[in-house]
């Protein structure tokens, strides 16, 4: 027994099982997220169920579980779609109530812009009062009609986003210029105001003509209607323009399903959210997250590295520097929401409010910078991650051998030259480790963002084609907040659940990608600046 303890094996086992425990928990978490997240996009079969009470539904089986208090009985959770008809997307059906089940080949899933999926069979396609096709030929006609409506949709999008957006921005600019002149005391008869009013008139005229064009495009595309036969037998119209995707899962092989899968994944990554974020894509959130992390890094790295440089290289080491060091370390333990409140009070109301008064008085009381925005959110997170960067940089600087500094000084270089040419390059890998940690922390942080600029829906990205192209004052979407919002604030919890997993998965990927990039950069630098001594 004593020999056993002396061999050290028990400790090795203890340490080993601790590691195994950690790995198991992480692997479990990742597996749950990956399985749920990736499975969501796969088009599952559409089951036709005739219930004993006479109703008929088409549904995708989401889950099969035991009925509480009834031995051996099971029930199915089905996604039946047609929320506009049934009021609910999901329905539980006891297996004992099912009369027949089948998988009809013509059962189709219509993904719509509104009201979620519609399940049923395609009866006819019409344009205005004319019926274009009926029965078996309707599918081919629907495909060609969808090409027309897709075309129209992209023209409408272009018109709204680019042309009308630009005119809107100009109108707003003119209005602001007018306000500014008035605030400076010009009267309505002043010639520049008269000029501005004329501009305004012209812009409005342009806007109106664009509106007319838009309405006619809309009307044109709304004329096309697909007629859907519901499982119950009713006929319902769906404007073709509202159809996002349509497929017949029971009639598809793996390749066709794979194609639908990929198109759904692509829509998720590149599209905009619909139906209070429970459907569609999350591109604005993805973009907002990445941009916020990049901005944060741009703020925190120079600031943190300079602070650490002063603390380690210039400040006289003593009680004061020790105190500062301890304070910085402790800053890392302050709850992030506290940073959020500081960001709100200092950046948003303090700095932003002052900027508004000084530079944007004409738009007050509507705040420009005096409200949450991506700039303030990234600055707040920069503050939050500052201790990580400072501590890592300080350690990296401390680990640069003193001999290198002396060697450089002895060759006649100044302290600044030594730091820039020898110390910093040697410390770079260590500094980058700190940056990696800070990035990871910043990408996963949500609480402080909720009060400094993240919103549930912000389709206008902080970068776009309208001057000045970079709109740092804009509110933005964030994957972490998106998870919270979809998971806990959504009116349609069942429909939102898969979205939580897919978004979580994506956030994990983003953090992983950001980290991997930084690690690759670091390893390259490490190879170049490896410090070896004899």
């Amino acid at each position: 027994m004593r020999a056993f303890f002396r061999s050290g094996d028990p400790f090795i086992w203890l340490a080993g099982s601790a590691l195994a425990g950690c790995l198991l928990m992480i692997a479990g978490l990742v597996t749950v997220v990956v399985v749920n997240g990736l499975g969501f996009f796969w088009p599952s079969a559409l089951m036709r169920i005739q219930v004993l009470d006479g109703t008929v539904v088409y549904g995708e089986v989401i889950e099969r579980q035991q009925v509480p208090d009834k031995d051996g009985a099971h029930r199915l959770q089905l996604k039946i779609g047609n929320r506009d008809v049934y009021g609910l997307d999901f329905r539980w059906i006891d297996e004992s109530d099912i009369e027949t089940r089948s998988y009809p080949a013509d059962a189709a899933v219509f993904e719509r812009l509104e009201w979620g999926n519609a399940n049923g069979t395609l009866e006819a396609v019409s344009a205005g009062a004319d019926t274009l096709a009926r029965g078996a030929t309707a599918w081919a006609v629907l495909d060609s009609v969808r090409q027309i409506t897709d075309d129209l949709a992209s023209r409408i999008h272009d018109l709204e986003r680019n042309h009308m957006g630009a005119v809107n921005a100009e109108i707003e600019a003119v209005r602001m210029a007018r306000r500014r002149l008035q605030l400076q005391g010009s009267t309505v008869e002043h010639e520049s105001i008269v000029q501005l009013d004329a501009d305004q008139q012209q812009l409005w005229a342009r806007y109106d003509s664009l509106s007319v064009e838009l309405t006619s495009l809309r009307e044109h595309s709304e004329r096309f209607v697909a007629w859907l036969r519901l499982p119950g037998g009713d006929l319902r119209p769906i404007p073709v323009a509202h159809i996002v995707r349509v497929y017949r899962p029971n009639d598809m092989d793996v390749v066709a399903k794979g194609a639908v899968y990929l198109s759904k994944v692509w829509e998720f990554l590149s599209g905009e959210p619909r139906e209070s974020n429970t459907e569609g894509g999350i591109f604005p959130a993805l973009f907002g997250t990445v941009m916020m992390v990049i901005l944060m890094t741009l703020f925190v790295v120079p600031f943190g590295v300079l602070a650490a440089l002063y603390l380690r290289e210039y400040a006289r080491q003593g009680a004061l520097t020790r105190t500062i060091r301890i304070a910085v370390n402790n800053l890392a333990g302050v709850p992030s929401i506290v940073f959020g409140m500081f960001g709100l009070g200092f950046f948003v109301y303090g700095v932003g409010g002052t900027i508004d008064v000084l530079f944007y008085p004409e738009s007050l009381p509507t705040p420009t910078y005096g409200t949450g925005g991506i700039l303030w959110a990234s600055l707040t997170l920069a503050l939050l991650t500052l201790p990580v960067v400072i501590v890592a940089t300080e350690e990296a600087l401390a680990s640069v051998p003193g001999g290198l500094r002396e060697g450089s000084i002895a060759l006649g270089s100044t302290k600044l030259q030594t730091i820039l040419r020898v110390v910093l390059p040697s410390a770079l890998p260590g500094i980058l480790t700190g940056v990696i940690l800070a990035t990871a922390r910043g990408a996963g942080e949500v609480a402080p963002l909720m009060i400094t600029g993240v919103v549930k829906l912000a389709p206008d990205l902080p970068v776009d084609g309208i001057f000045p192209f970079l709109h740092l004052e804009r509110k933005f979407m964030h994957l972490g907040f998106h998870i919270y919002d979809v998971g806990f604030q959504s009116p349609n919890v069942e429909a939102a659940r898969p979205m939580v997993f897919t978004t979580t998965l994506l956030l994990l990927f983003v953090v992983l990608a950001l980290n991997l990039t930084a690690i690759v950069v670091r390893n390259r630098l490490r190879k170049r600046y490896a410090i070896k001594t004899i």
């Binding site: 002396e406 060697g407 002895a410 040697s426 410090i531 004899i534």
Partner: protein, 266 residues
Amino acid sequence: MSKAHEALESTTVEIDDPVVTVQDLSLFYGPTQALFDVSLRVPEKQVTAFIGPSGCGKSTLLRCLNRLNDLIEDVTITGRIELQGEDIYHPAYDAIELRRRVGMVFQKSNPFPKSIYENVAYGLRIAGINDRGALDAAVERGLRSAALWDEVKDRLQNTALDLSGGQQQRLCIARALAVEPSVILMDEPCSALDPIATARVEETIAELKESYTIVIVTHNMQQASRVSDYTAFFYLGRLVELDHTKRVFTNPRLQQTEDYVTGRFG
């Protein structure tokens, strides 16, 4: 005449035309005194060796000669050091300029994590010289003087960190030579090297003597007697004896010196 000067008269050989003159130098690390009234002269284009037991202040004195002790907080220096007649501790004297004229090679070789070429060119680059031709010439001259050129001429752009220990040390010598100093300080340059690498460095020193003044700290008595023309023996922060190397090793003036060089204490 002070007591120190009397001691100087009696135990040091007269050196005319010195490059470096140290007068009554005392140095304190905080409250503790490390050098006591050291006065000596370093002859031009000769090799002077500093010997003495560990902790007697050889490195400290050496680092005074290029003002490297400025980097350490809490160092107090009294006395006077002249380089070619100028007081290097005078407030108006430029320490950066001084270090270009007085190069240094350290006990532990410390090549920068850069290419071989950039290591040697470093001193010129920080002096603002970026002309490719001038740099190329200086790098080649430095490497040739340090007897390293033939070994590395085909891989100048490789990292210096892949060189062997002996090559790294000669690279550090080349780096110091590239800026063309008039004095080179070497603090135990061979202590981490094997006998063959040591021999190479010693050969290098012998060649450098032609054009440079060299001060070398060493614990190796054979090395001191092989490479140096003059030898200074220190003990507990004081200069005990300074004379022609031959005399120090065969017929020193003081019993203490004889005991040390013959290995009876130390």
